[in-house]
Subunit: 110 residues, 2 copies
DNA sequence: ACTATATTTTGCTATATTACCAAATAGGAA
DNA sequence: TTCCTATTTGGTAATATAGCAAAATATAGT
Protein backbone atom coordinates (compact mmCIF):
# COMPACT_ATOMS: atom_id res chain seq x y z
CA UNK A 1 0.00 0.00 0.00
CA UNK A 2 1.71 3.22 -1.12
CA UNK A 3 1.81 6.42 0.90
CA UNK A 4 -0.77 8.27 -1.17
CA UNK A 5 -3.34 5.50 -0.87
CA UNK A 6 -2.64 5.34 2.82
CA UNK A 7 -3.42 9.04 3.19
CA UNK A 8 -6.64 8.55 1.31
CA UNK A 9 -7.73 5.79 3.69
CA UNK A 10 -6.77 7.91 6.64
CA UNK A 11 -8.84 10.81 5.38
CA UNK A 12 -11.83 8.55 4.90
CA UNK A 13 -11.39 7.02 8.33
CA UNK A 14 -11.36 10.48 9.89
CA UNK A 15 -14.76 11.27 8.41
CA UNK A 16 -16.20 7.95 9.51
CA UNK A 17 -14.69 8.28 12.96
CA UNK A 18 -16.52 11.57 13.31
CA UNK A 19 -19.87 9.77 13.32
CA UNK A 20 -18.62 6.74 15.25
CA UNK A 21 -19.88 7.94 18.62
CA UNK A 22 -23.35 7.55 20.16
CA UNK A 23 -23.79 11.24 20.89
CA UNK A 24 -22.57 12.38 17.50
CA UNK A 25 -24.78 9.83 15.80
CA UNK A 26 -27.71 11.26 17.69
CA UNK A 27 -26.78 14.79 16.70
CA UNK A 28 -26.57 13.90 13.02
CA UNK A 29 -29.92 12.12 13.09
CA UNK A 30 -31.57 14.97 14.93
CA UNK A 31 -30.19 17.55 12.53
CA UNK A 32 -31.54 15.52 9.66
CA UNK A 33 -35.01 16.16 11.06
CA UNK A 34 -34.46 19.85 11.71
CA UNK A 35 -31.82 22.44 12.46
CA UNK A 36 -31.04 22.93 16.13
CA UNK A 37 -28.92 25.25 18.22
CA UNK A 38 -26.29 24.06 20.66
CA UNK A 39 -28.51 24.61 23.69
CA UNK A 40 -31.36 22.51 22.31
CA UNK A 41 -29.02 19.67 21.47
CA UNK A 42 -27.36 19.89 24.87
CA UNK A 43 -30.71 19.60 26.60
CA UNK A 44 -31.81 16.63 24.49
CA UNK A 45 -28.54 14.82 25.10
CA UNK A 46 -28.35 15.62 28.78
CA UNK A 47 -24.59 16.01 28.99
CA UNK A 48 -22.42 18.94 29.94
CA UNK A 49 -22.61 21.82 27.47
CA UNK A 50 -18.87 21.74 26.95
CA UNK A 51 -19.01 18.07 26.07
CA UNK A 52 -21.71 18.59 23.47
CA UNK A 53 -19.82 21.58 22.10
CA UNK A 54 -16.78 19.41 21.56
CA UNK A 55 -18.81 16.78 19.73
CA UNK A 56 -20.23 19.50 17.53
CA UNK A 57 -16.76 20.72 16.69
CA UNK A 58 -15.68 17.21 15.71
CA UNK A 59 -18.58 16.99 13.28
CA UNK A 60 -17.92 20.48 11.99
CA UNK A 61 -14.23 19.83 11.41
CA UNK A 62 -15.15 16.71 9.49
CA UNK A 63 -17.36 18.84 7.25
CA UNK A 64 -20.50 16.94 8.17
CA UNK A 65 -22.32 19.83 9.82
CA UNK A 66 -22.06 23.62 9.59
CA UNK A 67 -22.91 26.36 12.03
CA UNK A 68 -24.47 29.77 11.68
CA UNK A 69 -24.53 32.38 14.40
CA UNK A 70 -28.03 33.75 14.91
CA UNK A 71 -27.83 36.48 17.51
CA UNK A 72 -26.86 34.90 20.74
CA UNK A 73 -27.32 31.30 19.68
CA UNK A 74 -25.54 29.15 17.10
CA UNK A 75 -27.65 27.06 14.80
CA UNK A 76 -26.30 23.80 13.42
CA UNK A 77 -27.19 22.34 10.02
CA UNK A 78 -26.56 18.92 8.58
CA UNK A 79 -24.29 19.60 5.65
CA UNK A 80 -24.16 16.09 4.20
CA UNK A 81 -27.38 14.14 4.76
CA UNK A 82 -26.03 11.16 2.82
CA UNK A 83 -23.77 10.46 5.79
CA UNK A 84 -26.71 8.58 7.29
CA UNK A 85 -27.23 6.36 4.27
CA UNK A 86 -25.51 3.43 5.87
CA UNK A 87 -27.55 3.34 9.05
CA UNK A 88 -29.82 0.82 7.36
CA UNK A 89 -26.84 -1.41 6.81
CA UNK A 90 -25.66 -0.94 10.38
CA UNK A 91 -29.05 -2.10 11.56
CA UNK A 92 -28.75 -5.14 9.29
CA UNK A 93 -25.46 -6.01 10.93
CA UNK A 94 -26.98 -5.65 14.39
CA UNK A 95 -29.93 -7.79 13.33
CA UNK A 96 -27.65 -10.51 11.98
CA UNK A 97 -25.60 -10.49 15.18
CA UNK A 98 -28.74 -10.87 17.26
CA UNK A 99 -29.87 -13.73 15.05
CA UNK A 100 -26.53 -15.46 15.52
CA UNK A 101 -26.91 -15.25 19.28
CA UNK A 102 -30.38 -16.76 19.01
CA UNK A 103 -29.12 -19.60 16.86
CA UNK A 104 -26.31 -20.40 19.26
CA UNK A 105 -28.69 -20.53 22.17
CA UNK A 106 -31.43 -22.58 20.51
CA UNK A 107 -29.12 -25.10 18.84
CA UNK A 108 -27.20 -26.00 22.01
CA UNK A 109 -29.97 -27.35 24.21
CA UNK A 110 -28.46 -28.49 27.49
CA UNK B 1 -32.74 10.58 25.63
CA UNK B 2 -33.88 7.44 27.47
CA UNK B 3 -31.64 4.52 28.36
CA UNK B 4 -32.93 2.16 25.67
CA UNK B 5 -32.38 4.67 22.88
CA UNK B 6 -28.95 5.34 24.27
CA UNK B 7 -28.05 1.66 24.07
CA UNK B 8 -29.26 1.60 20.50
CA UNK B 9 -27.00 4.49 19.56
CA UNK B 10 -24.11 2.87 21.35
CA UNK B 11 -24.62 -0.39 19.44
CA UNK B 12 -24.67 1.47 16.16
CA UNK B 13 -21.58 3.45 17.05
CA UNK B 14 -19.74 0.22 17.83
CA UNK B 15 -20.37 -1.10 14.34
CA UNK B 16 -19.35 2.16 12.72
CA UNK B 17 -16.26 2.41 14.88
CA UNK B 18 -15.22 -0.98 13.59
CA UNK B 19 -14.70 0.46 10.11
CA UNK B 20 -13.40 3.83 11.31
CA UNK B 21 -9.75 2.97 10.87
CA UNK B 22 -7.58 3.20 7.73
CA UNK B 23 -6.40 -0.40 7.89
CA UNK B 24 -9.83 -1.83 8.57
CA UNK B 25 -11.31 0.26 5.79
CA UNK B 26 -8.71 -1.20 3.47
CA UNK B 27 -9.50 -4.73 4.61
CA UNK B 28 -13.21 -4.30 4.01
CA UNK B 29 -12.65 -2.87 0.54
CA UNK B 30 -10.23 -5.62 -0.36
CA UNK B 31 -12.57 -8.34 0.86
CA UNK B 32 -15.31 -6.84 -1.25
CA UNK B 33 -13.18 -7.64 -4.30
CA UNK B 34 -12.28 -11.15 -3.18
CA UNK B 35 -11.79 -13.33 -0.15
CA UNK B 36 -8.32 -13.27 1.37
CA UNK B 37 -6.47 -15.05 4.12
CA UNK B 38 -4.76 -13.26 6.98
CA UNK B 39 -1.30 -13.64 5.45
CA UNK B 40 -2.29 -12.03 2.17
CA UNK B 41 -3.89 -9.11 3.93
CA UNK B 42 -0.88 -8.72 6.21
CA UNK B 43 1.46 -8.53 3.23
CA UNK B 44 -0.71 -5.99 1.42
CA UNK B 45 -0.97 -3.81 4.49
CA UNK B 46 2.66 -4.08 5.48
CA UNK B 47 2.16 -4.07 9.24
CA UNK B 48 2.96 -6.67 11.86
CA UNK B 49 0.89 -9.84 11.51
CA UNK B 50 -0.39 -9.49 15.06
CA UNK B 51 -1.58 -5.98 14.33
CA UNK B 52 -3.53 -7.09 11.28
CA UNK B 53 -4.91 -10.03 13.20
CA UNK B 54 -6.27 -7.69 15.82
CA UNK B 55 -7.91 -5.51 13.20
CA UNK B 56 -9.51 -8.61 11.72
CA UNK B 57 -10.90 -9.58 15.09
CA UNK B 58 -12.44 -6.14 15.54
CA UNK B 59 -14.25 -6.52 12.22
CA UNK B 60 -15.24 -10.07 13.07
CA UNK B 61 -16.65 -9.13 16.47
CA UNK B 62 -18.66 -6.41 14.83
CA UNK B 63 -20.16 -9.02 12.52
CA UNK B 64 -18.84 -7.34 9.38
CA UNK B 65 -16.56 -10.16 8.29
CA UNK B 66 -16.42 -13.89 8.97
CA UNK B 67 -13.57 -16.37 8.95
CA UNK B 68 -13.22 -19.96 7.82
CA UNK B 69 -10.27 -22.18 8.60
CA UNK B 70 -8.93 -23.80 5.43
CA UNK B 71 -6.14 -26.13 6.39
CA UNK B 72 -3.34 -24.02 7.72
CA UNK B 73 -4.71 -20.65 6.69
CA UNK B 74 -7.79 -18.72 7.69
CA UNK B 75 -9.85 -17.16 4.95
CA UNK B 76 -11.81 -14.00 5.59
CA UNK B 77 -15.08 -13.10 3.90
CA UNK B 78 -16.99 -9.85 3.81
CA UNK B 79 -20.24 -10.65 5.56
CA UNK B 80 -22.04 -7.37 4.97
CA UNK B 81 -21.05 -5.70 1.69
CA UNK B 82 -23.51 -2.86 2.25
CA UNK B 83 -21.17 -1.57 4.93
CA UNK B 84 -19.30 0.19 2.14
CA UNK B 85 -22.39 1.96 0.82
CA UNK B 86 -21.42 5.20 2.40
CA UNK B 87 -17.93 5.49 0.93
CA UNK B 88 -19.39 7.51 -1.90
CA UNK B 89 -20.77 9.95 0.61
CA UNK B 90 -17.49 10.07 2.51
CA UNK B 91 -15.76 11.02 -0.72
CA UNK B 92 -18.35 13.76 -1.23
CA UNK B 93 -17.52 15.17 2.18
CA UNK B 94 -13.80 15.09 1.39
CA UNK B 95 -14.45 16.78 -1.95
CA UNK B 96 -16.51 19.52 -0.32
CA UNK B 97 -13.80 20.10 2.29
CA UNK B 98 -11.16 20.43 -0.41
CA UNK B 99 -13.38 22.86 -2.30
CA UNK B 100 -13.79 24.96 0.83
CA UNK B 101 -10.04 25.17 1.22
CA UNK B 102 -9.73 26.29 -2.40
CA UNK B 103 -12.36 28.96 -1.93
CA UNK B 104 -10.69 30.34 1.16
CA UNK B 105 -7.36 30.59 -0.61
CA UNK B 106 -8.64 32.13 -3.84
CA UNK B 107 -11.01 34.64 -2.20
CA UNK B 108 -8.43 36.12 0.19
CA UNK B 109 -5.86 37.51 -2.22
CA UNK B 110 -3.15 39.24 -0.22
C1' DA C 1 -19.74 50.18 30.79
C1' DC C 2 -22.30 46.35 33.21
C1' DT C 3 -25.17 42.24 33.32
C1' DA C 4 -27.13 38.16 31.60
C1' DT C 5 -27.22 34.36 28.40
C1' DA C 6 -25.21 31.13 24.97
C1' DT C 7 -21.35 28.82 23.50
C1' DT C 8 -16.59 27.59 23.17
C1' DT C 9 -11.90 26.84 24.95
C1' DT C 10 -8.70 25.18 28.32
C1' DG C 11 -7.05 22.15 31.95
C1' DC C 12 -7.38 17.98 34.00
C1' DT C 13 -8.18 12.98 34.69
C1' DA C 14 -9.83 8.61 33.34
C1' DT C 15 -10.38 5.47 29.76
C1' DA C 16 -9.67 3.45 25.23
C1' DT C 17 -7.05 2.48 21.07
C1' DT C 18 -3.10 1.23 18.55
C1' DA C 19 1.23 -0.82 17.34
C1' DC C 20 4.97 -3.69 18.13
C1' DC C 21 7.37 -7.70 20.25
C1' DA C 22 7.43 -12.14 22.32
C1' DA C 23 5.07 -16.23 23.43
C1' DA C 24 1.27 -19.46 22.67
C1' DT C 25 -1.77 -22.18 19.65
C1' DA C 26 -3.40 -24.89 15.55
C1' DG C 27 -2.64 -27.82 11.52
C1' DG C 28 0.03 -30.24 8.16
C1' DA C 29 4.16 -32.69 6.80
C1' DA C 30 8.33 -35.43 7.72
C1' DT D 1 6.76 -36.84 18.00
C1' DT D 2 9.12 -33.06 15.97
C1' DC D 3 9.38 -29.35 12.82
C1' DC D 4 7.46 -25.71 10.09
C1' DT D 5 4.18 -22.26 8.88
C1' DA D 6 0.02 -19.43 9.78
C1' DT D 7 -2.40 -17.02 13.03
C1' DT D 8 -3.81 -15.45 17.51
C1' DT D 9 -2.96 -13.84 22.42
C1' DG D 10 -0.78 -11.33 26.08
C1' DG D 11 2.04 -7.55 27.62
C1' DT D 12 3.45 -2.84 27.29
C1' DA D 13 4.26 1.89 25.89
C1' DA D 14 2.61 5.74 23.17
C1' DT D 15 -1.18 8.24 21.68
C1' DA D 16 -5.96 9.64 21.30
C1' DT D 17 -10.56 10.39 23.13
C1' DA D 18 -14.32 11.60 26.47
C1' DG D 19 -16.30 14.16 29.95
C1' DC D 20 -16.53 17.44 33.70
C1' DA D 21 -15.55 21.98 35.67
C1' DA D 22 -13.68 26.54 35.41
C1' DA D 23 -12.38 30.29 32.62
C1' DA D 24 -12.82 32.78 28.31
C1' DT D 25 -15.51 34.74 24.41
C1' DA D 26 -19.44 36.69 22.00
C1' DT D 27 -23.82 39.05 21.69
C1' DA D 28 -27.89 41.50 23.28
C1' DG D 29 -30.13 44.44 26.50
C1' DT D 30 -30.04 48.01 30.24
Amino acid sequence: MDAQLQRRYKARATIIKAVAHPTRLFIVEELKKQNRNAGELTEMIGADASTVSKHLSVLKNAGIISDERRGTTIIYHLQTPCILNFIGCVEEVLQAKAQDQMNIISSCKL
